[in-house]
């Protein structure tokens, strides 16, 4: 099974979809399913140790030392699975909506190509290309099919992210010039021994790009607006998969490439992440808009993941790995719930809803399971992730863990409060005729709910994939910090 096939199939799918105007939906869905099948085949061949597997390495631009180098290890594999797994769900969830243009689906699949490049690249240049290639389609998806303020909001989003990534580009070029073998490969970057000041600068070059993408407080201001204005498919892509690019970047590039920079500035990054958790949770309390509430809750959850990484121990990092998957699944489910509500009721105001559980029992069940997953109830997927993350933070500093732990309590409060306001109580004029979920919606929500429970009951399968690689990475960085 070749990794190239997995990478380039979405591109083929995008072309076919574009040329196949009438059956754009269907061909996009089929393409994403085939890509998922490829990913599962790769998973079948995957050996869960610390090695890089399915290595592909061709010279691309030899004059500049750029290679087309991709590989999968225990850290890439879960993200590849997340990307390929969520795409069919995201595409399927747009079926009932009024978007049937071929260009929309072609852009979506094009983005998948960029995302997969980011998660598998072992060449910094290729990583950067994937990073930008994933951005352009999402910009157009949000700008063309979004809500009223989409142009302004999107420009903000776009300018933020490009500004961040250009500094990352400068950092990559600088690192490239320091390598002995004129290369962009991640192995050469890991082998560099730069002094602490330089690494500090480089840390910020990379951190800016990743912090904006995740987003970490105070670089998050683009996020709630963009999530609200984007079409739901766009929001799912952004929150479900794209923000994991930032988290993945921190694990794969930021900390291992600039360990001394991390030593100096990592603590500040950790504090920022924790401030973000508390800040987002408090703001989420006051939100009246369904989508905005989910957006802020997402900032809180991502803050916890970031905190788990910046404490740099095995529990925190393993928690981050599994929580990335969980967050992806849960947030896609949440946004589909929100989209169904908005589509049926033509409003985003929580106050105007109520009593839907009575008229739509299937919808209510799905909603409840997803809410429980998000608030990390034991036996749902969120539990194991947040447990590991908090365990990691606890080892670093008990007070940080105490503050970060508030996120679970806060999350439970505002999520359940929203559930109560939307689903329980008396029906009103608009909610009385609420139609229960139908074909494609049912299918997507069912898959999401099953995943939430399966991962919650048996998280070991996922944890096992990344364990060896994570341990190896931590040892590698710690050995550099020790001298």
């Amino acid at each position: 099974m070749n990794l190239l096939l997995l990478l380039f199939f979405p591109l083929v799918g995008a072309l076919v979809t574009l040329l196949n105007g009438k059956f754009a939906k269907q061909s996009a869905l089929i393409s994403s399913l085939v890509t998922l099948a490829f990913a599962l085949l790769l998973l079948g061949d995957f050996v869960p140790d610390a090695s890089s597997q399915f290595v592909v390495n061709y010279p691309w631009i030899p004059a500049l030392g750029i290679n087309f180098a991709v590989a999968i290890d225990g850290i890439s594999m879960p993200l590849v699975l997340l990307t390929t797994g969520l795409f069919p769900l995201i595409i399927l969830s747009s079926f009932g909506r009024n978007i049937s243009q071929a260009s929309f689906y072609a852009l979506t699949l094009f983005m998948q190509f960029g995302l997969l490049l980011v998660f598998t690249a072992t060449d910094a240049f290729l990583f950067y290309v994937g990073w930008e290639v994933a951005l352009i389609p999402i910009y157009f998806i949000c700008a063309l099919w979004g809500g009223e303020n989409r142009i302004k909001v999107n420009m903000k989003f776009f300018v933020y992210t490009i500004a961040g990534s250009l500094f990352m580009l400068l950092g990559i070029i600088y690192l490239h010039l320091q390598t002995a073998d004129n290369s962009f490969s991640i192995a050469s970057f890991y082998n560099l021994n730069l002094d602490a000041t330089t690494q500090g600068w480089l840390f910020w070059c990379f951190f800016l790009a990743f912090a904006i993408k995740m987003p970490i407080f105070p670089f998050h201001t683009w996020q709630p607006d963009t999530y609200t204005e984007a079409p739901t498919t766009g929001t799912m892509l952004l929150s479900g998969i794209m923000l994991k690019m930032g988290i993945y970047g921190v694990i794969r590039w930021l900390i291992p490439v600039t360990p001394l920079g991390f030593l100096t500035w990592g603590h500040l990054a950790l504090i920022l992440s924790i401030i973000g958790i508390v800040y987002a949770s408090i703001i989420a309390f006051t939100q009246k808009d369904v989508k905005r509430l989910i957006a802020y809750s997402s900032i809180g959850h991502v803050g916890l993941i970031a905190a788990g990484i910046f404490v740099w121990n095995i529990q925190g990092l393993q928690g981050a790995m599994i929580q990335m998957i969980n967050h992806g699944i849960n947030v896609v489910g949440m946004f589909l719930i929100a989209d169904i509500l908005i589509d049926r009721l033509k409003t985003r105001e929580i106050a105007t809803m109520g009593g839907i559980a009575k008229v739509a029992p299937k919808f209510a069940t799905a909603f409840l399971i997803i809410v429980l997953g998000t608030v990390a109830l034991p036996l749902t997927n969120g539990f194991i992730g947040e447990f590991l993350l908090l365990h990691g933070v606890y080892q670093f500093n008990i007070w940080y863990a105490a503050v970060a732990g508030l996120t679970i309590i806060f999350g439970a409060v505002y999520m359940l409060r929203m559930y109560k306001a939307v689903m329980q109580g008396e029906t009103n004029e608009s909610t009385a005729s609420f139609k229960d979920i139908n074909g494609s919606e049912f299918l997507v929500l069912a898959v999401v709910c099953v995943l939430i429970i399966v991962i919650g009951v048996y998280p070991n399968a996922l944890l096992h994939i990344s364990e060896a690689s994570v341990e190896n990475l931590i040892n590698q960085v710690n050995s550099k910090l020790a001298f």
Binding site: P62, E132, I136, L144, M155, L170
Partner: protein, 491 residues
């Protein structure tokens, strides 16, 4: 210098030089031929077009053949008037390549074609300009530089005001001529100083630098600034840029496209040879160039944000790109500088000509001139809209287009020099920030195209297959060169 060269030796030099001058002869012959055809044959439009294109292609072939003969060692031709080496030929080929595309563009331009005098005179002027352009690229003597720039300038003045019908157009043409004449005069004045200091105008004569080391740095900087004025006018870097937006907006679109690309190739190809030796003589020189680069990027990009007219927008965008290119001139290593310049100019040329072609097509077919009128276009036309998106992505400098590779190459060659050259780091940061700023206006174009509601009914005219074809080819080229830049990094 007092005795001059021996006459016999000098004649021999001239005779051996002739064989390297084939392309210039071909263009001169083509130039005369076009005049004659136009004089004696009626309705010879098509014939003249083919004669012109044949001239350019033959000239390019002649250069290609020479490229095989000489490798890297430089030759001075005609007693030190011209330089001849593979870099020079590389830039000449690029200029010819862009000219050939421009020529096809001229041929399709309705505004030029509907002119009562016909388009044939225009081709004559064009060929004259190209001749000046080629001698400019290879000139090794500052007097030759002046002559070439004048040849190119006069041709461009005529081309801009060729279809002079309205008052605004006359104003733009006039601005262009007056600015140009003043800039040339200042440059000539600067050249006389240079001659006075050193007794030579030959760039490859040691005396010119020896003299420079002896005079004080203020006079040296002043002289160089004066020389830069003439060159800066052609490149439209700040503060010599005032003519650009007006001229680009009022000139026929094909002419704007030509002006924004081909003369830049020539002037940069010369400028890098001027800057390289002088920056060791005058330490201020790299600072002057870098500050010009920074200010040019800022002015070009900031002004572009406020533009409503598409051609004006591209005019400011081209000013911004000039600033970016200027940064390259401070690189200490000649061969990396020239190869990076070549690649950036190549990237910029194909993208910019493509963008102008798309705009000409829109103007011609839908009468679209401003951003607002672009609304709803995405639904009507399936080919030109995505191509325009590709060009805009490339001008911004995002992967997977050639514009990204070009910017990447520039950044990577400059970052290693930040410690060696003062003042480079802040200018690089300006470059990054203005790139971000450029998103605002470049992405406005595709956004308006794909916005849903068409504001007014769009007039449809008949389709032009050649335009479609060329725009598509250029768009594909932009992507291919972005993914596989190695194919195009010849020089």
């Amino acid at each position: 210098m007092q005795t001059g060269l021996d006459i016999a030796q000098s004649t021999e030099n001239i005779i051996t030089s002739l064989s390297y001058f084939v392309s210039e002869f071909i263009i001169t012959i083509g130039f005369l031929l076009v005049i004659i055809i136009d004089l004696f044959l009626k309705k010879a439009e098509r014939l003249v077009f083919f004669a012109t294109i044949l001239t350019l292609v033959l000239a390019a072939v002649a250069y290609l053949l020479q490229l095989n003969i000489i490798q890297t060692n430089s030759l001075l031709l005609f007693n030190g008037m011209f330089l001849h080496n593979s870099y020079v030929i590389g830039f000449k080929l690029l200029a010819l390549f862009a000219s050939i595309i421009s020529l096809v563009f001229f041929n399709q331009d309705k505004e030029l074609k509907n002119h009562p005098k016909g388009i044939n005179d225009f081709y004559t002027i064009f060929l004259g300009g190209i001749l000046g352009l080629l001698t400019l690229i290879s000139s090794a003597n500052l007097l030759m530089l002046f002559l070439s720039i004048e040849m190119l300038s006069i041709a461009s003045y005529l081309m801009v005001s060729y279809t002079n019908k309205e008052k605004l157009q006359a104003e733009a043409g006039m601005k262009y001529v007056l600015f140009g004449a003043t800039a040339s005069a200042i440059m000539l004045y600067g050249l006389t100083f240079l001659y006075g200091f050193s007794g030579t105008l030959n760039l490859y004569n040691e005396n010119i630098f020896v003299a420079f080391e002896q005079i004080n740095s203020f006079s040296a900087s002043l002289v160089l600034l004066m020389v830069l004025a003439g060159i800066g006018f052609k490149l439209s870097f700040v503060p010599f840029h005032f003519w650009t937006p007006d001229a680009y907006q009022q000139a026929p679109t094909s002419v704007s496209s030509f002006l924004s690309t081909v003369p830049k190739i020539a002037v940069f190809a010369f400028l890098f040879r001027l800057v390289a030796p002088f920056q060791f003589v005058s330490i201020h020189f790299s600072t002057i160039i870098l500050s010009a680069a920074g200010i040019t990027m800022l002015v070009g990009n900031v002004m572009a944000v406020f533009q409503k007219d598409l051609k004006r927008l591209l005019a400011y965008s081209s000013i911004g790109h000039t600033g970016f290119l200027l940064m390259l001139l401070v690189l200490p290593d000649d061969s990396t500088m020239s190869s990076n310049l070549w690649f950036y100019l190549f990237a910029y040329s194909i993208t910019n000509i493509g963008a102008f072609m798309s705009i000409a097509y829109l103007e011609d077919r839908f009468n679209i001139k401003t951003l607002q009128q672009l609304k709803g276009l995405g639904k009507l036309n399936t080919l030109i809209a995505p191509c325009l998106v590709v060009f805009m992505v490339s001008l911004t400098g995002l992967p997977p287009t050639v514009g990204f590779m070009a910017k990447f190459v520039v950044f990577s060659s400059l970052i290693s020099e930040t410690t060696a050259i003062n003042f480079l780091t802040p200018v690089l940061i300006v470059a990054v920030l203005t790139t971000v700023l450029s998103l605002f206006y470049y992405f406005n174009i595709p956004l308006h195209i794909y916005l849903k509601k068409p504001e007014e009914l769009i007039v449809k005219k008949k389709k032009s297959v050649i335009f479609d074809f060329f725009v598509l080819i250029l768009a594909i080229l932009v992507i291919i060169a972005g993914v596989f830049p190695d194919i195009f990094k010849i020089f």
